[in-house]
Amino acid sequence: MRFMFKTDYEDDITLFPHSGYIVTYGVLLAFLLIAPFVLSSYIVSQLVFVFIYATVGVGLMILTGFTGQASLGHAAFLAIGAYSAAYLQQFNVPFPVYFLVGGLLTGVVGAMVGFPALRLQGIYLVIATISFAFIVEEILARWESVTHGNEGMRVKALQLLGTTVSRDSPSFYYLCLAVLFLTIIGTLNLLRSPTGRAFVAIRDSETAARSMGVNVSLYKVKSFAISAAITGFAGVLFAHKLSFISPEMFTLQLSIEFIIVILIGGAFSPHGAVLGAIFIVMIDPFLTYLKDDLPVIIAGIAATFGADSITAGKIHGNVAAIASANGLKGAIYGVIIVLFVLFEPLGLYGRWLKIKLFFQLFPLYKRATFKRQKIYVKSERNR
């Protein structure tokens, strides 16, 4: 096992605590850079969605994971980014300009949501963000001169440096990868700055943060603005990837998917956003796989255990009926959310850290290391 001796504060906040980090992340980055040339175009396309979802996940994590302000309205921020891109594109505004405008505009809207949210806590904030998202969705459907209402808007392929970057090209893949990379680096740097420290302080205890001189209101609004801006940037890419946007894409369902991203990945580290994004994007191909292959596999297993061909055929039919039932995705989502909340609140990344620690400390690992504290006395109503 590795012992890390920290002799000053710089050691504690460094981005790469030891050389192992540079090697592993370097290998990962190198793999992602050559990925468009070695992987199939389908997987590359899915990877682009992973990057976009992970960018939103990191944005949401700044607000929910680090500042402790829950939001179920991030689909609205994504929509604002996507629609501002689609709208500005009509006037031949160059991509870098509307990319920045989309993000900054969303950030301003985020700050505007942040001000009223200052007075709200816990469930009230969740409900308020849901309402905000509903209102945005309705505005998108009704403000037809700008958004074309329910007909939706086409988004042309983006123009960058005089060339056309189609949504399936490797260049678009690199663009999304670059945005995600910059977002993660930016977030890590934010977290080791006074602003990030203030966010975490507010999450852990607002009263304590205030008594330490943290301007809680200012930092909450900042957190909203930064989180919304990142989501807005992702929204511009999202619009280009889908090439068509309409109000019914940005529903509560999508906001919940974003929350699932950080819930399943783990809301305390950008690793979590990436893992959660991989999960959310891959669940659809996985379900298709279930529909096609699972009945055959299970019938095969039954046959090897001595079932005759008629029984095996019946099993095949039953499994196929279950696997292709409508709404299976919803049930799987539901079960997975509940299981993660009950058994692994730190998410996939938390599970990875536990496994790593188990081997590092073997045989001295104690389960209590990661035990959550239950609080039965504090009523969240009185604050």
Binding site: T64, A70, P116, R119, L120, G122, I123, Y124, V126, I127, A128, I130, S131, F132, F134, I135, E138, A141, R142, T207, L252, I256, I259, L263, A325, N326, G327, L328, K329, G330, A331, Y333, G334, V335, I336, I337, V338, V341, L342, P345, R372, K374, I375, Y376, V377, S379, E380, R381, N382, R383
Partner: protein
């Protein structure tokens, strides 16, 4: 003027449904400080149970109603035992996510079992109308209003006059202290989930003649019930019903007098306004944390 009264009555009837769902939120919130995002889906499931008993098995309406309420009360206890109890004491957000997950699961499973069509339950109030002058009131809407008033009164008395109700309020304030006082907190939480599922079922069955039941009805109406609960002040039983009625009337008036599109957002605009101006709601109590 007649139009206005007609809109008012249908708004009140719709609002009573919101109020009934909001009552479920408030009950769970009062006893455990937890917001059950699956409340609307419990209502939907209750409606489907009643549909199975009345429409498919051919039971008498009242018998089927009672059967659905009992079945759902047991289901509420089960849901509490499996999903909520292990995470009591953790931050609210965990529990919100768990109930969102439960809602997903219920919608999807109901869709698989009963299909995604609209269903209708034959009730004794289905067709009749009450005429007062030129005002026409449908019995099904009146039945919702009457049931809401009765349930609200019963629950209010239960919470404020009975020992069990007091125990519930105590365990909401501070579970540990309530436990030290000899209150069986686990059983109290279990009972409150049963009651809230039963109230949700009543809402679902009464609603069935007005807006048919389908697997997504709970999501749609449940989200409209939030503004109702917040407007009334989360945690106040009469507040939930008053808030529900106000939201219902606002929605129905906005649908009639304002351009298209306002009907759906009006409740949320009201909700945001309430949260900004008076976050504790009309009937809520404002408390501050002491350090």
């Amino acid at each position: 003027m007649l139009d206005f009264v007609q809109q008012l009555v249908s708004g009140i009837a719709l609002g009573c449904v919101y109020g009934l769902i909001a009552l479920g939120f408030v009950l769970v919130y009062k006893a455990t400080e937890v917001v059950n995002f699956a409340q609307g889906d419990l209502m939907m499931l209750g409606g489907f149970f009643a549909f199975t008993f009345i429409g498919m098995l051919g039971l008498n309406y009242w018998l089927g109603f009672a059967g659905a309420v009992i079945a759902m009360a047991l289901f509420g206890m089960l849901a509490e035992r499996v999903v909520v109890r292990p995470i009591l004491g953790y931050p609210q957000f965990s529990i919100i996510m768990a109930t969102i997950g439960l809602g997903y699961f219920l919608r999807s499973v109901v869709g698989m079992i009963w299909g995604t069509d609209d269903f209708k339950i034959e009730t004794p109030f289905s067709d009749g109308v009450l005429r007062i002058g030129s005002l026409v009131l449908a019995y099904d809407k009146l039945s919702v209003i009457a049931a809401t008033v009765i349930l609200c009164a019963l629950l209010y008395l239960f919470f404020n006059r009975t020992t069990l109700g007091t125990a519930m309020r105590a365990s909401s304030e501070n579970m540990l202290a309530a436990y030290y006082m000899g209150i069986p907190v686990k059983r109290v939480v279990s009972i409150v989930w049963a009651i809230s599922a039963a109230v949700a079922t009543a809402a679902g069955v009464l609603l069935a003649p007005i807006t048919f039941i389908h697997s997504n009805v709970g999501l749609v109406l449940g989200l409209k019930a939030f503004p109702a609960a917040v407007l009334g002040g989360f945690g106040s039983i009469p507040g939930a019903v008053v808030g529900g009625v106000l939201i219902g009337v606002i929605e129905s008036m906005a649908g009639f007098y304002l351009p298209q599109g306002w009907k759906d957002v009006a409740p949320y605009i009201v909700l945001l306004a309430v949260l900004l101006l008076k976050p504790e709601g009309l009937f809520g109590v404002h408390l501050r944390k002491k350090v």
